[in-house]
């Protein structure tokens, strides 16, 4: 990184306005030179034309006619700002009122002429030596050139000054605006660092870049907050939910220790203890699996999966169990419903949903699995006509460890639906719980063409 490059908005705008001023200055200099040259050139041509006309008089009538012409031209006063001087070979003035020393023959850019009032003018002059030794000086006042130059310089100066003023002004204004807007963000960030996690960057509702940045930052902060909340909730839930089996494990062990049991009794106590620890291991396994899926790395190994086949497989696996518990299973299949995904995870998702329905509905309930395909998506529905889930609890049950009061008595860890939610998310599928009137309907909408890449 170049250490000289300005890092603040103020510095940047100043730099830009300086560059612009330089460009304007260069342009001014070029214009000035061009117009100055053009005016001088114009003077030169006038002088040359007059000199040529005097020389014609000289050729025609000699020194006398030339002197006559000079006098006439001067008196006629036809050309303003012009002055003439004719001296003979001895240096004596013959004609003309130009009050200046006679220069060497040739062009003279600055010839100082004394005006009758004593002031000095600057003229441009062409001095010509005539064949008889006399010298003719034709001069033109440089006044217009100088006036134009002065006007140009004044104007340029004013423009440059204005430009610099605008540059510095806008640098200051822009800097102030940027500082103020960034200041809000900075303050918010500082407040969050200091612990006020609910602080958000103020939004003004405009669609400016700053407002867009504020919105994006706020969305990011919301997401972080919800992740943190989930993390806090999960940590406390893990602690809470592991305490139950741990307590039971301890009870089983303490009970066995305090009682005087025979070998058979000890065996039973050990078996109970083993069951309790298995329960805890199951919870950990489920949690690890959810977090693994949530990293979304599994997307790298996605392949086309025939959902119709998976539905058939799960229906086949659970069919006897469903029948045994007096449930009815209905399948509405669409053949060839293919989605991009992980076959085993999709099987687990289906299995979890079916098990969930099986566990939370009374015998005799109807559970149905159906697939619908369209050009854009594949919709998988697992529905039952059991007690359903009240609308206000539907979001909650997708969270880890949530077990509704009504299902406290049924076995489970409250992780089944969070696993379903995690698998659905990894598959870019939209998960929705709705009322089946009566019962619960779990609808998963897979995109037929999910975004590619991980």
């Amino acid at each position: 990184m170049n250490r000289l490059a300005p890092r603040s908005t103020f510095g940047l705008v100043i730099l830009v306005s300086l560059l612009l001023s330089c460009a304007a200055l260069l342009l001014g200099v070029a214009l000035f030179a061009a117009s100055h040259e053009a005016l001088e050139e114009q003077l030169n041509r006038r002088i040359e034309a007059e000199t040529a006309s005097f020389l014609r008089h000289f050729t025609r009538g000699g020194a006398a006619e030339l002197a006559e012409a000079v006098t006439q031209r001067e008196e006629g006063g036809r050309v303003s700002g012009a002055g003439y001087l004719l001296v003979d070979a001895a240096g004596r003035k013959v004609a003309g009122g130009l009050n200046a020393p006679v220069p060497e023959p040739g062009w003279r850019e600055f010839l100082y002429v004394t005006r009758p009032d004593g002031k000095q003018d600057v003229s441009q002059a062409l001095t010509t030596r005539l064949p008889d030794g006399a010298t003719l000086v034709v001069a033109a006042d440089r006044g217009p050139v100088d006036a134009s130059d002065r006007a140009f310089l004044t104007l340029s100066g004013a423009t440059l000054a204005t430009m610099l003023l605008i540059g510095v002004g806008s640098a200051w204004a822009l800097g102030a605006v940027v500082r103020r807007r960034l200041g809000h963000i900075n303050q918010t960030a500082q407040a969050i660092i200091d612990g006020d996690l609910s602080r958000r960057v103020p939004e003004d509702g405009s669609l400016s870049e700053f407002d867009q940045l504020s919105r994006t930052l706020n969305r990011m902060l919301d997401r972080n907050a919800s992740l943190m909340e989930t993390l806090q909730q999960v940590s406390s839930d893990i602690a809470h939910d592991l305490r139950t089996p741990l307590t039971r494990l301890q009870q089983a062990l303490n009970g066995a220790l305090s009682e005087d049991l025979d070998a058979q009794g000890y065996r039973r106590a050990l078996e109970r203890a083993a069951d309790r620890s298995q329960e805890m291991l199951d919870i950990f396994a489920a949690l690890l699996r959810i977090s693994e899926i949530e990293t979304l790395r599994i997307r790298e190994s996605f392949q086309p999966v025939d959902l119709s086949e998976a539905v058939g497989q799960v229906a086949d696996a659970f069919g006897p169990d469903l029948e045994a518990s007096g449930h009815q299973l209905g399948i509405g299949e669409a053949a060839g419903a293919v989605v991009e995904g992980d076959r085993r995870l999709l099987l687990q998702l289906l299995a979890n949903l079916v098990e969930n329905a099986l566990r939370h509905t009374p015998p005799g309930s109807k559970i149905s699995l159906s697939l619908q395909t369209s050009a854009d998506d594949v919709i998988l529905e697992v529905a039952d006509n059991g007690p359903g889930i009240a609308p206000e609890h539907r979001d909650k049950v997708l969270r880890r460890f949530t077990r509704l009061e009504q299902s406290r008595s049924t076995p489970g860890q409250g992780l089944g639906l969070s696993l379903v939610a995690a698998i659905a998310k990894a598959h870019f599928a939209e998960l929705m719980l709705a009322d089946n009137e009566p019962g619960l309907i779990v609808r998963l909408t897979f995109k037929a063409h999910p975004p590619s890449g991980g």
């Binding site: 291991l281 190994s301 006897p320 045994a324 076959r343 687990q348 299995a351 099986l358 076995p411």
Partner: protein
């Protein structure tokens, strides 16, 4: 059998070693990947139990090197990670099976028995026969003592898994994997339910139970 265990966690190593010794096997336990590689190249073993995470050379690399060196000793990979990709990676790198920690000893034992007797080349078979049960692999038809038994395709698959592993126990998780491709354990008793259906169909009209339930371990087809 001579079995080599490479496991750096002393407690797990001891747990596996004791169990296998009790089963009548001769067990060598090493703690590092280098030792495992050295032992497995120097001596012929019947099976390897390799932990995936080992100090120095990890289990996967050991296995890769052994396979590259032409040593085809059946290997069971152990891992503490339940990463979905790890399983595929282990199987692709020459592991014959894969077991996630923590595991029950009976599960390890059953899986070891299966991989050790796994035929080195795919057998070209058209039928399986265990005692009086016959399975036509092409027509997917089952006969017991010459009598046709009507089975669902999935039940034939389950019977096939049991028959291919006659004399060996098939655990619930092995059956879930083989029959339904489930790499998770459902909370419902789907294996038990399906086994009892299969058993009922196979046994109807016969005295002897065709399927043996091994308590706390799994199921076996009756082979004697």
């Amino acid at each position: 059998m001579k079995i080599l265990i490479a496991e750096d966690d002393a407690e797990t190593a001891d747990f596996v070693r004791r169990g296998l010794t009790q089963e009548g096997h001769v067990v060598t336990a090493v703690k590092s990947g280098q030792d495992a590689l050295f032992r497995a190249t120097e001596e012929p073993y019947d099976a390897l139990v390799l932990d995936r995470m080992l100090p120095g050379l990890d289990g996967l690399s050991v296995l890769k090197m052994l396979r590259a060196g032409g040593i085809r000793t059946p290997a069971l990979m152990l891992t503490a990670m339940s990463k979905i990709a790890d399983r595929v990676e282990a199987l692709e790198n020459g592991a014959d099976d894969y077991l996630i920690k923590p595991f029950a000893f009976s599960e390890l034992n059953a899986r070891l028995n299966v991989i050790v007797r796994r035929p080195a080349v795919a057998e070209v078979e058209t039928a399986l026969k265990v005692q009086d049960i016959e399975l036509d692999l092409r027509k997917r038809v089952v006969h017991r003592a010459g009598r046709r038994i009507d089975l669902q395709p999935r039940e034939v698959l389950m019977l096939e898994a049991l028959m291919r592993n006659a004399h060996r126990v098939m655990t619930r998780t092995m059956l879930l994997e083989k029959v339904w491709d489930f790499d998770f354990d459902p909370r419902t008793n789907i294996v038990e339910t399906h086994i009892s259906r299969l058993r009922a169909k196979l046994n109807s009209g016969f005295e002897q139970d065709a399927i043996i339930t091994v308590r706390g371990a799994g199921y076996m087809i009756r082979s004697e």
